[in-house]
Amino acid sequence: MKLRVNGEARDVDVDPATPLLWVLRDQLGLTGAKYGCGLEQCGACAVLCDGKAVLSCSTAAASFAGREITTVEGLAAGGLDFVQRAFVAEQAAQCGYCIPGIVIAARALLDANPEPSDAQIRAALDTHLCRCGTHPRILRAVKRAARERALAR
């Protein structure tokens, strides 16, 4: 099976029904996307598919053929991207297990809507669970990312 991941064509030899998450984590060594529930309930496994945030834990890898998959590792390939830099600047993590999925969701949001309102940010992240209670500074980090990209333009 052929997949495009982080800008590269990758050949993987797995049962095509294998969820994308396990292909990324086991075949491709990309453990940035996390296993959180396997039920599409928590958002920890989010990756970008053609620029949109999708959950990878329950959908067969085969259905991503011909799509461009980007993981948090891919976002950081040329140095941290603007969302990742904003999360670092706001120190927006405690344990950090949910953060890769939230970074992905934030990047997809800001690409589609560069100046989201507070309510739009909360709505975009509402399917992502954080158990440490880091929400306030995650929200600040997303706002900072939007602000800093606007300034850089």
């Binding site: 996390k34 296993y35 529930c37 509402d126 158990r131």
Partner: protein, 717 residues
């Protein structure tokens, strides 16, 4: 006094090493749980050594090296490891300067250090810690008499700085225990019955064994695991095994709707609590003092609640030539090591535990059990590393929960509106049943109960120590003239329970700070003023004043009504850690009965601030997690099993529900630094309940505050 961590680990080299590459490594027996301990310890060492924090690497617990500091629990890590490390760093600085003085031929008092560079003002030349001592051993004990820097000279502590590991986290390079991958590693899954004590009566593993990639099905009594070459193959095989397994359930448990009635009816071991310590003595009689003009009583309850870590527990184990290594996100490698060794009948020297970070645990979750699961499978398949990943359902169903509690309160008021006497009776199951080594026949590790040669689960015992589980924060900090505090310990919980962040403090502070609000209203007093009326502790008064000022608290003696309200609460965790006051503003929707948090203010005093950013993160995280417990969380179960098995059946707080939070830190330079990770949970719950009362006139005494509970209260209870 030499702190216990140093008494246990006196050698300086156990704590600190200077490296030739310009870095310093510090070793701690504590572990990073997301609470930011690595950042805090790096800053303490940097301050005392006079090096930039970025030069300091922190290595967390490993049974083969570094100090043994037992568990990372109880908001103790800064006080224990931080204090020990500060003394170790001061000792190291003294040793380094003595060596430099000899090398440079000057008196030690003439030397100055800046970011590890040593010079003697007015003289040519100099050296650095790293050139002088890189890779060498100190070979001396930490005497604890090396001069530590006075707070007035601090350049790092109390000021903002970078959190350790952020770039790795956001870029996916951080390796959690869930992410461990070694060449040749097998992926294993454990197949469990409806409860931990269910007995496996039938299993046909033939089909599972034939699936692609499956290497072994490991069965030992009622313990079943499957190991495969890939995670997806292990998942598929486990699903097949699950279908073929037939379980004889454990005897019927309690129906959930009878939980509190049965807790009342159950035989309890009861202890008076004196100065925070439960005493093995008869309960004192109730004495109503003179001058009581009004008495109040109320009962508060808290259901079973989960740690509900965002990542299900995982561990890797590898047995080579009879020596077992386990990579684990446990809170206590040096305690889990002998527990695993005993359960496997191996000498402890043949078992090494290495801590690897995991998702936040908030107490005793599945981490220890999955470590033993991995050890068992690796023990059955020597030579290959084995990674066991629990599923979401495994974690929800089998983690030990925070116990349900019942808190009964009574108070008397005199004609001047002062509390005359205060009674607090806290009832619950154990808050701490960790996998300590119990011997050859008893184990705290779940799989040990399931094997053919089964070990028995430990019998819970009451913790009588200062602010132990059920009576943690039962003894209020207020200067009430008479108090009667009682701990009622119940032995046999229908669900397995152990330590969840805050232990009894969450329910006790929720209850007493809600009840104090009731008493204040009965006295016709403003709740903030009423608290101050009964408080002599200056630092308590300061945090209450700071929170009220930042919030813009206007005194009032009647509920505001109209669906919008504010509430206030306060506690000092264990009456000996950080002080925290919380004020919240919320609305209660008339139509949906939903509570919506709008804003919150925290004021806290954690002594000398080590890392202000980390401190705020812990205080605010505690508030948000407590808001989740308080508004949403209750473990559901029936007579057969737990039925809260995922995020739909155990909902937690979401981004749309999080209030704006402002935090005020009261720094106390030179005072001991105090743990703060469990400071805001209790006050948050009570502040929310008090705000609901302010908004609606309804007093919510049973957690969680779901719309159903609000409606029930509106209908008259």
């Amino acid at each position: 006094m030499i702190p216990p961590s140093l008494q246990r680990n006196p050698e300086l080299d156990t704590w600190l090493a200077v490296n030739a590459d310009g870095t310093v490594t510090v070793f701690t027996g504590k572990v990073e749980l997301g609470q930011g301990i690595k950042t805090a310890l790096a800053r303490i060492a940097a301050e005392e050594l006079d090096v930039a924090p970025a030069r300091v690497r922190v290595r967390t617990a490993d049974t083969a090296s570094g100090p043994n500091e037992l568990y990372t629990v109880g908001s103790n890590s800064l006080e224990e490891s931080g204090t020990a490390l500060r003394l170790a760093a001061a000792e190291a600085r003294r040793a380094l300067l003595e060596t430099a003085a000899e090398e440079l031929g000057v008196h030690v008092d003439a030397l100055r250090v800046r970011d590890g560079a040593i010079s003697a003002p007015g003289r040519e030349g100099g050296t650095t810690y790293f050139a002088l001592f890189g890779g060498k051993r100190f070979a001396r004990k930490v005497s604890a008499d090396a001069p530590a820097k006075p707070a007035s000279e601090y350049r790092v502590l109390g000021r903002s700085g970078a959190r350790v590991g952020m770039e790795e986290l956001v870029s996916g390079r951080a390796v959690f225990a869930q992410d461990l991958r070694l060449p040749g590693m097998l992926h294993a899954r454990v197949v469990r019955g409806p409860t931990a004590r269910a007995r496996l009566v039938e299993l046909d593993d033939a089909e599972a064994r034939r699936l692609p990639g499956v290497v072994a099905v490991v069965r030992d009594g009622s313990f079943v695991a499957v190991a495969a070459e890939s995670a997806a193959q292990a998942d598929a095989a486990a699903a097949r095994l699950r279908k073929s397994a037939r379980w004889e359930p454990a005897p019927d448990g309690w129906p959930q709707d009878e939980l509190f009635a049965r807790m009342r009816a159950a035989e309890a071991k009861s202890y008076p609590v004196e100065n925070g310590v439960a005493v093995d003595a008869p309960l004192p009689p109730r004495v109503t003092p003179d001058g009581v003009v009004r008495s109040l009583r109320a009962t508060y309850t808290r259901p079973y609640q989960m740690h509900a870590s965002i990542g299900p527990s995982a561990a890797m184990a590898h047995e080579v030539a009879g020596a077992l290594t386990v990579w684990t996100h446990t809170q206590g490698v040096s305690v889990l090591r002998p527990a695993i060794a005993q359960a496997l009948a191996l000498p402890a020297e043949r078992v090494r535990l290495i801590h690897v970070e995991g998702p936040g645990c908030y107490g005793h979750n599945g981490a220890d059990d999955v470590a033993f699961d991995a050890a068992l499978v690796a023990h059955a398949l020597p030579g290959r590393p084995v990674h066991v990943q629990w599923s979401r359902e495994d974690e929800h169903a089998f983690e030990p929960y925070g116990t349900a509690m019942i808190v009964d309160l009574e108070a008397g008021l005199d004609a001047q509106g002062r509390v005359t006497d205060w009674c607090h009776e806290a009832r619950g199951f154990t808050h701490a049943l960790r996998a300590i080594p119990f011997g050859e026949r008893v184990s705290g590790l779940m799989a040990a109960w399931q094997r053919e040669r089964a070990m028995a689960p430990p019998s819970p015992r009451p913790m009588l120590v200062h602010h132990g589980g059920i009576h943690r924060n039962a003894d209020p900090l207020y200067a009430f003239p008479q108090r009667r505090i009682v701990k009622h310990f119940l032995a046999d919980s229908p669900l397995r329970t152990s330590a969840l962040r805050g232990l009894g403090a969450y329910a006790n502070v929720f209850a007493l700070e809600s009840f104090l609000d009731e008493v204040a209203h009965a006295a016709g007093a403003d709740p903030v003023e009423f608290r101050l009326r009964h408080l002599d502790d200056e630092r308590a008064r300061d945090v209450i004043g700071a929170a009220a000022a930042r919030f813009g608290w206007q005194p009032a003696t009647r509920p505001a009504g109209g669906g919008r309200g504010r509430g206030f609460a306060f506690a000092r965790y264990k009456n000996q850690k950080s002080w925290a006051a919380v004020a919240v503003e919320l609305t209660v929707d008339d139509a949906t009965a939903q509570i919506r948090l709008e804003r919150a203010v925290i004021a806290a005093d954690a002594g000398q601030i080590v890392d202000p950013d980390g401190l705020v993160n812990q205080l605010e995280g505690g508030l948000v997690q407590s808001a989740s417990w308080t508004l949403h969380e209750e473990v559901r179960f029936d007579r057969e099993r737990v039925t809260s098995l995922d995020w739909e059946t155990y909902p937690i707080l979401r981004f749309g529900e999080v209030p704006d939070i402002e935090t005020v830190l009261l720094d106390r330079p030179g005072e001991p630094w105090l743990g703060a990770g469990e400071a805001t949970q209790g006050p948050t719950a009570a502040a929310i309940g008090n705000a609901v009362f302010d908004a609606t006139g309804l007093r919510l005494r049973d957690l969680p505050f779901t719309p159903e509970r609000v409606r029930k209260a509106a209908a008259g209870g």
